[in-house]
Assembly symmetry: C2
Homo-oligomer: 140 residues x 2
Amino acid sequence: MIRNTRQRAAVNAVFDELEGFHSAQEVHARMRAAGDTIGLSTVYRAVQALVDDGELDSIRTDAGEAIYRRCSARHHHHLVCRACGRTEEVEGPTVERWADRVAGEHGFVDVKHTLEIFGTCAACHATAAPTPVDGPARQG
Amino acid sequence: MIRNTRQRAAVNAVFDELEGFHSAQEVHARMRAAGDTIGLSTVYRAVQALVDDGELDSIRTDAGEAIYRRCSARHHHHLVCRACGRTEEVEGPTVERWADRVAGEHGFVDVKHTLEIFGTCAACHATAAPTPVDGPARQG
DNA sequence: GGGGCATGTGAGAACTGTTGTCGACTGACC
DNA sequence: GGTCAGTCGACAACAGTTCTCACATGCCCC
Ligand SMILES: [Mn+2]
Ligand SMILES: [Mn+2]
Ligand SMILES: [Zn+2]
Ligand SMILES: [Zn+2]
């Protein structure tokens, strides 16, 4: 049985205050800095549980780190500024249908997909680029 | 200046004989097993150089491991069977236009994207599922 | 065909993110 | 309150990747 614990609730609460994507390690550091006592393993277990519950969405940086964000319930994708890290949720039936169709044409069933879009947001394009964030290694 | 070395050529050659995606560690093990003497660090450096040159395409498994494949020059995406790991290259203007359009609508410039499709291929769907391969953690 | 030397190599150490271990703890249920 | 499976967290272990640095070797120039 899944039990309600202070730690799980606290991790969940952190994502109420946080915009955008954050790693388990960062969440752990923030909680510790705020006086919360919680183990790193517990943070990892909590974010994974939250992803399983659909509370958080997770993507992986180009460096291989998993980052998490409070996620709206609707299926969507992310548009990420590679300069400032700002993310927008984007969605649309076009790409959903395309993915299902090409998979079906190849005889694949039980189809899911991952899609992330990287670019430079208008603000960052206007000014000089601040601290960069990893985009994809190669356009794929 | 970039120098031509036996090791770099050998890593490149490995991908001529190999279908699908393979990790740096696997390539290293194959080369060692075949009697090639090469260091793991060198394999990592070689595949990275090949990705930079556009000779290889790289994606990251859900477990965070980078895997590499000889890549056709045309822009495309991958349709991966989560049961047997078989991959198909898929492409189409629909999804390209969609990604560029939604990014443009949000004021983003210099846009790239990553897209992978996961499913069960017809062969694996017909038989019982063999050794599974990771798909995405969550449909995104 | 040699020097000279910047570039590349590779064994091993180090580093990163993540997961496993296991004794202590505690929320849920009675 | 008592029971006990689920949970915690310090720590170790692990996997993939990158760094270090002494040694080797392509490449340019003669
Ligand atoms: Mn989608
Ligand atoms: Mn594309
Ligand atoms: Zn930006
Ligand atoms: Zn298959």
